[in-house]
């Protein structure tokens, strides 16, 4: 045993030695230790450097509020984890931890220079200084800050661990396994309610489980022994799920809660066995009982951040739970009774201890106990300074003036190697406020406590502001019984004897002899903000607590202000002369403690990240060397390179083949909506801009759909299959939204229409064959069918049979070529496709992908919704006036087409662009200007589609340009990084203006 491991406890197994390394050096601890308790048992307090001044910092607490002991765990590239609190990580064999934020090393670091120049780093320093000059930012400030600031390293390799999600429902969820949580869970579970109890530590019992002080007696037993017995009874209840190592992450409305369970984090690397690392529980609870406890506050005085300054109750936990003393010569500095429990514990183990108390007296049992033991107490005193660079060596104390606003008398210097501080307790109201609950400020305890209005959750124990053992137990019992409608519980006749605090005093910022500007009284230990910073922010005009927080960065470190928020508020209130409670608090946002990304995403990684949709022809594309692009969730063939063709070469070949002979496209991904009902034609009249009533059965028509604001929303060809039966196609990406929109109108605006919509996108596969030889290929596929223009004209459809399977042939064209689309039930898609390829062999039928499809339609000036439009284009802007019915009284978006804004002549309008150099291809998205010398240069539009057309042997582009309709022939410029490209506005139909090819 080391000289600091002075005690044997039932929580740490001192027969099982565990070795670990910290900053490369090997140490030993025991099974049951945390990294922090093991370090302290080796006499190590210094564990990091502060963020701004790089001051040496030591372990300060024993829980999730820890601001200083932030470590990097494991140095493997893919398993390493930054910002782990040493106070929370359970020690395991082979654990490798290192300190953070202390480049080049913990004991000597360059950032410490900031400490020497700290008078020049006040609040908002970064905002003020690094603003100017601009050129310094990239080359000087940023690299410097990055080098000396960062908080640990993120893994450079993918996370190999498995994470899990689990949904759970219960009658009662109890958050927190301290004494009030255990009482609550027992009452609930014993009354046949399905109960879940979650506790973030590995052992139940909270701070009571190591409370062996004789002044806290329940049913004639010491409170820890009584609780031990309760826990063993609790574990026998079978309608109770007990989850330790499980912390609440978020408490959402309607009692929906997220909790993170650590499953294998505490195991040595070789014993994890590929198990799930963490599980995120998604719990819907009928009733929630929050028993989250309270966090001890520090005290704010000059140089209150030295290693060896530790919260008093944490000192007690290290002693009574882990058997480790944080020092051999202790001083306790307090404003309340709870720290006396620490003093008595230390004294009983033979460790030297003195007490400095800002109060004038306290007449409670525990204080009398300390006095009887002969512990020296300095009443009405405060610490005004501390000494020792890497570890505290001594303190200076002075008497407080009558009102506590000043110090009087002489300085008294006292030697010590540990200073335990206690500024009272802050109820953990985070869960309550996350769920939407409000807070009240309670003067007596200078604390925010829940203002309970919800019928579905309550707060019990110290998170509810009950601090004395007796009120914790009795109030919990009464409250839970009422909450769960239970008349009697096993705790009704409990007898409790405990010390009660009668004298209370709180000073947010303790006074000093030296002026405030020269003290370093830290409030946020990790972010290095001091009382001085907060006062400066107030002087500079910040009033809102949220603004002060951001300006000074108080409460914005990894502990999210668990230790600092109350003091920041207190000092603001004192300085501004307002009452605490009128300022409000900053918002407590989830998660309460950091969550891993792994736990958030669970199994939704890699191929499970998103749905992948493949057409039934997909395998053929793969076998034929297709490169794919993602269109929504669909995988679509992008191009089919032959040999070593690149994208450009393949697309040039495919495009030429489609116009010279025959091309084939997998069009299965287009959205398809089956529309039936006696009002189907009327419905189409209302949703499309053009007229539908007169479309004959067996005919197809292109339709344009607008939003109610008049902007183009979607387009596609709709076929009339029967009197009351249509098949609508939509864009691939728009299918789901179009269906939703149509359903919305049908259900809410036009419920009188007899129309039924069914999504059939996945039901049919589509092979689209185009090119001058397409008709010959169709004839081979359907020898009995008459494909003459008279029998089967453009924009019509016919039923057909292939291999005894029914299919539909639509003669429609998105390329401007003679073109047929064959729709067949999806399961026959691949065989249909293979038949087409076989029949087309003699015409060198060429499969083409989306890139060639885009090029072919651009040659014809056909728009792609979402590429040439962006939600701000009307059909008039697109020069598609021809499709907007003048006769129809109404359709979606009609009224908006003549709003004052939509009839402006200088709106961006669709045009064609030709580059002066026919080999110059414009970049899609490139900006267009009319004057190069004008400053600032005015952007009048941008390129939406751009290709080199092999069929025209020149570069072509579509663009939207302000007032473009009237600019035909005008010279414009596309300025690029290194040159300006000269372009001429042209017609946007580049090829076959007369539409001869569709009947070729």
């Amino acid at each position: 045993m080391t000289k600091y491991r002075i005690n044997k406890t039932r929580f740490v197994d001192q027969t099982k030695t565990v070795s670990f390394t910290f900053d490369g050096k090997k140490y030993h601890g025991f099974e049951g230790d945390t990294l922090a308790s093991a370090l302290l048992s080796n006499g190590i307090h210094l564990v990091g450097r502060s963020f701004k001044y790089h001051r040496p910092r030591g372990i300060m607490s024993c829980g999730s509020e820890e601001p200083n002991a932030i470590c990097q765990i494991n140095d493997d590239t893919n398993l390493t984890e930054p910002n782990v609190r040493a106070t929370e990580i359970e020690l395991y064999e082979g654990l490798k931890a290192s300190s953070q934020n202390c480049w080049p090393n913990l004991n000597f670091d360059i950032g410490g220079i900031n400490n020497l120049i700290s008078p020049f780093i006040p609040a908002g320093f970064y905002y003020k200084t690094f603003m100017w000059p601009k050129s310094f930012w990239k080359k000087i400030y940023e690299p410097l800050i990055r080098l000396s600031a960062g908080l640990g390293k993120s893994p450079s390799q993918p996370d190999p661990d498995i994470y899990d999600h689990k949904h759970e429902h219960c009658d009662v969820l109890v958050i927190g396994g301290g004494i009030s949580g255990i009482i609550s869970a027992k009452i609930a579970a014993k009354n046949n309610l399905k109960t879940i109890l979650i506790e973030d530590k590995n052992i139940l019992g909270g701070s009571t489980i190591y409370q062996n002080n004789k002044n806290f007696i329940i049913d004639n037993k010491k409170s820890n022994e009584w609780l031990m017995n309760e826990i063993s009874e609790l574990e026998k209840l079978d309608n109770l799920i007990l989850k330790t190592r499980t912390s609440l992450a978020a408490f959402h409305s309607y009692n929906y809660l997220l909790a993170k369970e650590n499953i294998s984090d505490h195991l040595p690397l070789d014993k994890k066995n590929g198990d799930i690392r963490q599980r995120l529980w998604k719990i819907r609870a009928d009733k929630v009982i929050v028993a989250a406890g309270a966090i001890e506050r520090p005290l704010i005085f000059n140089n209150n951040d030295r290693p060896g300054i530790i919260l008093a109750n944490s000192v007690k936990k290290y002693l009574d739970f882990y058997g480790v003393t944080t020092g051999l010569n202790n001083i306790i500095f307090t404003n309340n009774d709870s720290a006396y429990e620490t003093a008595v514990s230390l004294f009983e183990k033979g460790i030297s201890v003195k007490i400095v108390d800002i109060r004038k007296k306290s007449s409670s049992k525990i204080v009398k106990n300390a006095e009887e033991l002969g512990i020296e107490i300095y009443w009405n005193s405060t610490v005004v300074n501390t000494f020792g660079y890497k570890k505290i060596k001594s303190i200076e104390i002075m008497n407080l003036s009558e009102d506590g606003s000043n110090v009087t008398g002489n300085k008294n210097r006292i030697q010590c190697d540990c200073l335990s501080i206690s500024g009272g307790w802050t109820p953990m109201v985070h869960m309550h406020t996350q769920s939407g609950g409000k807070l009240d400020f309670r003067e007596r305890d200078q604390a925010f406590v829940p203002n309970e209005k919800s019928e579905n959750h309550i707060n019990v124990g110290s998170c509810n502001g009950d601090f004395e053992l007796e009120e914790i137990v009795k109030n919990t019992n009464n409250k839970v019984k009422k909450f769960l409608n239970i008349n009697e519980s096993g705790f009704d006749k409990i007898s409790i004897l405990c010390s009660k605090e009668l004298e209370k005093k709180n000073i947010w910022l303790l006074p000093n002899t030296i002026s405030e500007g020269k003290t370093k009284s830290f409030i946020d230990f990790q972010n290095d903000s001091t009382a001085k910073d907060i006062k400066l922010a107030l002087r500079e005009g910040f009033k809102s607590i949220e603004h002060v927080k951001r300006y000074t960065t108080t409460g914005m470190a990894t502990d999210q202000g668990k230790l600092s928020n109350m003091h920041a508020l207190g000092i603001i209130a004192d300085t501004a002369g307002v009452k605490m409670g009128t300022l409000g608090t900053t918002t407590f946002r989830p998660p309460f403690t950091p969550l891993t990304f792994g736990a958030i995403v669970g199994r939704s990684v890699g191929k499970f990240f998103d749905v992948v949709r493949k057409t039934s022809i997909h395998e053929w594309h793969v076998q034929n060397n297709a490169k794919f692009e993602n269109v929504g969730q669909w995988k679509r063939p992008w191009y089919y390179p032959i040999n070593n063709e690149n994208l450009h070469e393949a697309v040039q070949r495919e495009s030429k083949a489609a116009r010279d002979s025959a091309g084939i496209l997998d069009a299965s991904t287009l959205g398809k909506i089956d529309i039936q009902g006696s009002d189907a034609s009327e419905f189409l009249n209302r949703v499309y801009t053009n007229a539908w009533s007169k479309l004959g059965i067996g005919k197809c028509r292109y339709g344009l759909m607008l939003n109610e604001d008049g902007m183009v929303y979607d387009d596609g060809v709709t076929t009339r299959l029967g009197e009351n039966h249509y098949l609508m196609t939509t864009t691939t990406g728009g299918a789901a939204n179009v269906l939703s929109k149509l359903e919305d109108y049908l259900q809410t605006e036009w419920p009188e229409l007899d129309v039924y919509l069914t999504s059939v996108t996945d039901h049919y596969s589509t092979a689209s064959i185009c090119g001058p030889n397409s008709k010959k290929i169709l004839k081979k596929l359907f020898p009995n069918k008459d494909f003459s223009d008279e029998a089967f004209p453009h924009m019509s459809y016919q039923d057909a049979i292939i291999d005894k399977i029914e299919c539909r042939i639509m003669r429609i064209s998105f390329t401007g070529e003679l073109s047929y689309e064959i729709n067949i039930e999806s399961k026959y898609g691949k065989s249909l496709w293979e038949n087409c390829i076989k029949a087309g062999e003699e015409y060198k039928i060429t499969p083409y992908g989306t890139e060639t499809m885009h090029l072919l339609r651009a040659e014809k000036g056909f728009i792609i919704v979402g590429q040439d439009t962006d939600g701000t284009m009307t059909p008039i802007d697109l020069q598609m006036d021809w499709i907007v019915s003048k006769k129809k009284y109404d359709f979606i978006g009609k009224r908006s087409l003549y709003r004052s804004d939509t009839i402006r002549e200088d709106r961006k309008q669709l045009v064609g662009l030709l580059t002066d150099d026919p080999n110059e291809i414009l970049e899609e998205g490139a900006q267009i200007v009319s004057e190069l010398d004008k400053k600032p240069v005015e952007m009048i539009g941008h390129v939406t589609s751009s290709y080199f057309s092999p069929n025209l042997n020149k570069s072509i582009a579509l663009a939207v340009v302000k007032g473009g309709k009237k600019m035909k022939g005008q010279k414009l410029f596309v300025p690029m990084e290194n040159k300006n490209i000269n372009v001429t506005v042209s017609d946007f139909i580049f090829l076959d203006k007369e539409n001869k090819r569709i009947n070729a």
């Binding site: 409305s253 309607y254 919305d744 259900q747 009224r895 709003r899």
Partner: protein, 91 residues
């Protein structure tokens, strides 16, 4: 995460639903008769109330029915759900 009582399916998790904004805005029957301002009022103007608000919701990952819901936006308490076409309850 609310629990929403779909008038057609019963209680379901909020993740199955999508919100369609303010309820009881009727599409004008004769849009052509409206001035730009009147049309803009229908098209763009929506209330954003802190307190009791009447909203359209769609059971998108369920029965796909639209319905109306009365929700207090300050505490997410749902006061009522009712089918399209039904009269809003007095809250």
């Amino acid at each position: 995460m609310f629990i929403i009582n779909c008038p057609y399916c019963g209680e379901r998790d909020q993740s199955e639903f999508s919100c369609g904004g303010e309820a009881h805005i009727v599409r004008p029957k004769q849009p052509t008769e409206l001035s730009d301002d009147e049309w803009a009022e229908y098209l763009f103007m929506r209330k954003n109330i802190k307190g009791v608000q009447f909203e359209r919701w769609n059971h998108a990952h369920g029965c796909r029915k639209w319905f109306n819901m009365v929700r207090d936006t300050s505490n997410d308490k749902i006061h009522a759900v009712y089918k399209m076409g039904e009269k809003p309850p007095l809250i």
